[in-house]
């Protein structure tokens, strides 16, 4: 090694060792007019960058379930959202997350000049499982609350229809009795009609009428209940999913906005005073 020399060598674990001779530093100090230490550091950084550029890389293909809308953070620093990533050779830490899923931490060893597949199935988060269960209970309860009076209304309408049919038949029978009375020319038959047949048919009509009243009242109550319950259940609040895993995941890495995440502030000076 001569007096004016700068050498860089790499160790086995990828670290760079910079060696600068004393004469070189003194000469550089004279020419550049800089502090020796700062100059040395600048050169060291340049060398390190050169070393890192020369490092080998490998590609990692992300095969994640769910196949879309997943995000991951590499080495607890860089948040990304892509299906393929090129990383330097070696061990990397990945934190993967997708909406409604649980965050999964995994370590991946990237092999240089090779494309590797990372297959991960993100399990559903407990909050999402609880939300789905609560949503299911909510929907079931709402469905039953709405369909039960509808079934009752449908039953009431059928009952009313049948009751109207029976009432109509009973009425027809009485009308036939009335016609029979009007044209009958046998006093004995008329007596039997007035004392037996018509009172019996009147009773049948009264029964049919009572049945019709009950059916109509039931239908009316069912209709009112359907209307009331429909209005009431419309005000029920649907369960909302609060994705706490997203909050945790967002907190792991800083994500710049489109504008670069610039902090803006202003200062006002009152010139009138």
């Amino acid at each position: 090694m001569s007096n004016l020399s700068v050498s860089v060598r790499t160790t086995g674990n990828g670290r760079a060792v910079l060696t600068i001779s004393k004469a070189f530093r003194e000469r550089a100090w004279k020419f550049a007019g800089m502090e020796p230490l700062r100059y040395t550091l600048s050169i060291a950084v340049c060398c390190l960058m050169s070393v890192s550029m020369a490092q080998n890389t490998g590609t990692l293909r992300m095969l994640i379930d769910p196949g879309n809308d997943f995000s991951f953070i590499v080495d607890k620093k860089h948040r990304m959202q892509q299906r393929e990533i090129t990383l330097s050779e070696g061990l990397h830490e990945l934190t993967i997350w997708a909406p409604t899923r649980r965050m999964v931490d995994t370590a991946v060893f990237v092999i240089a000049n090779r494309t590797s597949d990372l297959v991960v199935r993100l399990p559903y988060s407990q909050e999402y499982v609880d939300y789905r269960a609560e949503l299911g209970r909510y929907q079931t309860k709402k469905r039953w609350m709405r369909t039960a009076p509808l079934f009752a209304l449908a039953g009431g309408l059928i009952w009313t229809g049948v009751a109207i049919g029976k009432y109509g038949k009973a009425k027809d029978v009485l009308e036939a009795d009335q016609k029979d009375y009007d044209i009958n020319v046998d006093p004995a038959a008329i007596g039997a009609l007035k004392e037996g047949t018509i009172p019996a048919h009147n009773e049948d009509l009264e029964k049919a009428r009572t049945n019709l009243y009950l059916a109509s009242a039931f239908t009316a109550v069912s209709a009112a209940a359907t209307y009331y319950i429909s209005r009431r259940t419309a005000k029920w609040e649907r369960p909302i999913f609060d994705d706490k895993e997203k909050v945790r995941f967002d907190g792991l890495a800083w994500l710049p906005s489109h504008s670069g995440g610039v902090f803006m502030a202003s200062l006002s000076i009152n010139l009138a005073r």
Binding site: N184, V185, I190, H201, R209, Y213
Partner: protein, 140 residues
């Protein structure tokens, strides 16, 4: 809105209730068939004329009151054969084939001049009596 729906339902219910009440037959009001014993309509038998004639029966003079009566068959529900019974069925019956054009002739023998004679005429058929009315005539 809810109140209007309930009011409308109650109104329909009341209308139905009132309408259905009218469908029953009031047996007591069935008095329009002339063959009904409870008939209370227009008179079935109406007086047309009368004559009192003196006849000789077994050689003795007898006054006989003859009354012409119209039988209103147009009140019948349908054309039919019938009988007319006198004195509420205690007297003889006349079949309809002896009542041409509904003109019935009643003969009351042994009448006394100036005395009123009333006869309850009733329609009959099949051995049972229907409606009727009384015809009163004063003998000459």
């Amino acid at each position: 809105m809810m109140n209007k729906v309930i009011a409308l339902l109650m109104f329909c219910f009341l209308i139905t209730t009132v309408a259905c009440k009218k469908d029953l037959i009031d047996v007591a009001s069935l008095t329009t068939n002339p063959f009904d014993p409870d008939y209370s309509g227009a008179p079935i038998f109406t007086y047309l004329s009368d004559t009192t004639i003196d006849e000789l029966v077994n050689g003795s003079p007898v006054s006989t009151l003859t009354i012409e009566v119209q039988v209103h068959t147009e009140y019948f529900g349908r054309p039919t054969t019938y009988q007319v019974a006198y004195n509420d069925g205690t007297g003889p019956s006349t079949p309809s084939n002896n009542i041409p054009n509904g003109l019935l002739t009643i003969r009351i023998p042994n009448v006394v001049g100036g005395q009123e004679y009333c006869n309850l005429l009733r329609l009959a058929n099949g051995g049972a009596y229907g409606g009727g009315n009384t015809i009163c005539v004063t003998a000459d």
